[in-house]
Symmetry: C2
Subunit: 230 residues, 2 copies
DNA sequence: TGAAAGCATGACTGTATAGTCACAACATCC
DNA sequence: GGATGTTGTGACTATACAGTCATGCTTTCA
């Protein structure tokens, strides 16, 4: 006590950033479990009714905890959204980073394979984080001041880096020489639309996922590929 | 006062549906002007911050009228959104209707032109109703209970009818024989993404509109067109 | 085992908001 | 120009919500 006369002065609107000592102790486990319950409850509600319409009271009610506890795990609703989307953002950014790095050192013959690796990595991520991806798709087009910043961040990053990757592909002669912004937006738009229909379960193609994926890839490659038009 | 003991019994939650006599009189003009002011103020706010985040108080403040007046022109916020989107819904539905009807009576050689007419009509509508279309795009992926019903309606109708039209095109051999749900979602997704980038003004292709449109049409036609893959 | 500190709780506060209503102002029509 | 009914007004109510806090509980660790 004597060494910390005012310990709350330097914490204007912060979460309790410090964890107590035990790395795998009961406290740590409890904390993680509560965190999970909170995130799961919030995610379910966000998908049902949109982030804007869901209240803190509803989240804690579904998570089965008191309202005060919410504020030990998140600063506010937007912060909780950021926590929920963090894995998706990290994995997406990582896959894009790896792709760009590989493109810088790759030789002409191996470039197409690098893009395929990106596609595969993102597919795995989407399959594993389906609910989070749906949350992103559902809110990505909200105005800047409406959606939580985390969602805007991801949307901006995804678009700009897709354009950059498309530009590289064009410069290497992997696709036709059209405005990379146009081809990137077209590919991203088509992919997201298909994904959204599938994840939301509305009007999704009735064929199996591998079949739909193959059909989409075929359409995209024809659309932006090298083949001359007859 | 004495002659009207109970005049409000038969009006549970209705708007004043009856207009007073004069067709082009001062009252009619005032009413239409107020309606316009309200819709314009609301639309601007909806685009800035999303329908969910905008309050009635803000709308009437920007429209420069008292709160009570709002409820003479709309039942609630969702009803106002429906009014704002009504022209877009009507024109879109009309263009789709005309296209379907034309396809039923058209001969093989004229079918492609019918789809082009649809595209042209929708383009004109988008150009004239840019703000409303942006509102639709911005909210179309919200969960059913979050977005105003009018937006959900339009989204559902647009998707299902695009699929139907794509199916007809495939059956007539205008495009390749792939699952029409896949090609329809791909085309719609690509188009909406481009449109959204353009209308929102974010990361829109820097080329001119006709040039971008031509590039997109080219990509789409290559993607779903008949040409065999080399 | 007991002191120390994170952790959980839910009642509480202040504020923001949807929707109402009694009344004033106005257009209409005779 | 006055009777009649519509339109405009803004204060008002009831409610719902975000965020706080004093209190008691659990874990930690010596």
């Amino acid at each position: 006590m004597l060494s910390s006369p005012k310990k709350r002065a330097a914490r204007p609107t912060k979460l309790p950033t410090k964890r107590p000592g035990p790395a795998g102790g009961a406290r740590d486990r409890n904390r993680q479990a509560t965190q999970q319950r909170l995130a799961a409850a919030a995610l379910a509600l966000f998908l049902e009714r949109g982030t804007a319409a869901v209240t803190i009271d509803e989240i804690v009610a579904r998570a089965g905890m008191a309202k005060g506890s919410f504020y030990r795990y998140a600063r506010d609703k937007a912060d909780l959204v950021a926590q929920i989307l963090a894995p998706v953002i990290a994995e997406t950014t990582g896959a894009l980073d790896r792709c760009e790095r590989a493109l810088q050192v790759g030789r002409q013959g191996t470039l197409a394979a690098i893009y395929l690796t990106l596609a595969r990595e993102l597919s795995v991520m989407v399959a594993q984080q389906a609910a989070c991806v749906l949350l992103y798709l559902q809110e990505a087009r909200s105005p800047a001041s409406a959606a939580p910043p985390a969602i805007q961040d991801l949307a901006d990053r995804l678009t700009s880096r897709t354009i950059a990757l498309t530009e590289i592909a064009r410069d290497h002669g992997l696709i036709r020489a059209v405005d990379p912004e146009v081809s990137a937006l077209a590919v991203l738009g088509a992919t997201e639309a298909m994904l959204f229909a599938h994840l939301r379960g509305l009007r999704a193609p009735s064929a199996t996922v591998p079949r739909v994926t193959a059909a989409l890839v075929d359409i995209v490659l024809r659309g932006i590929g090298l083949q001359p038009r007859v």
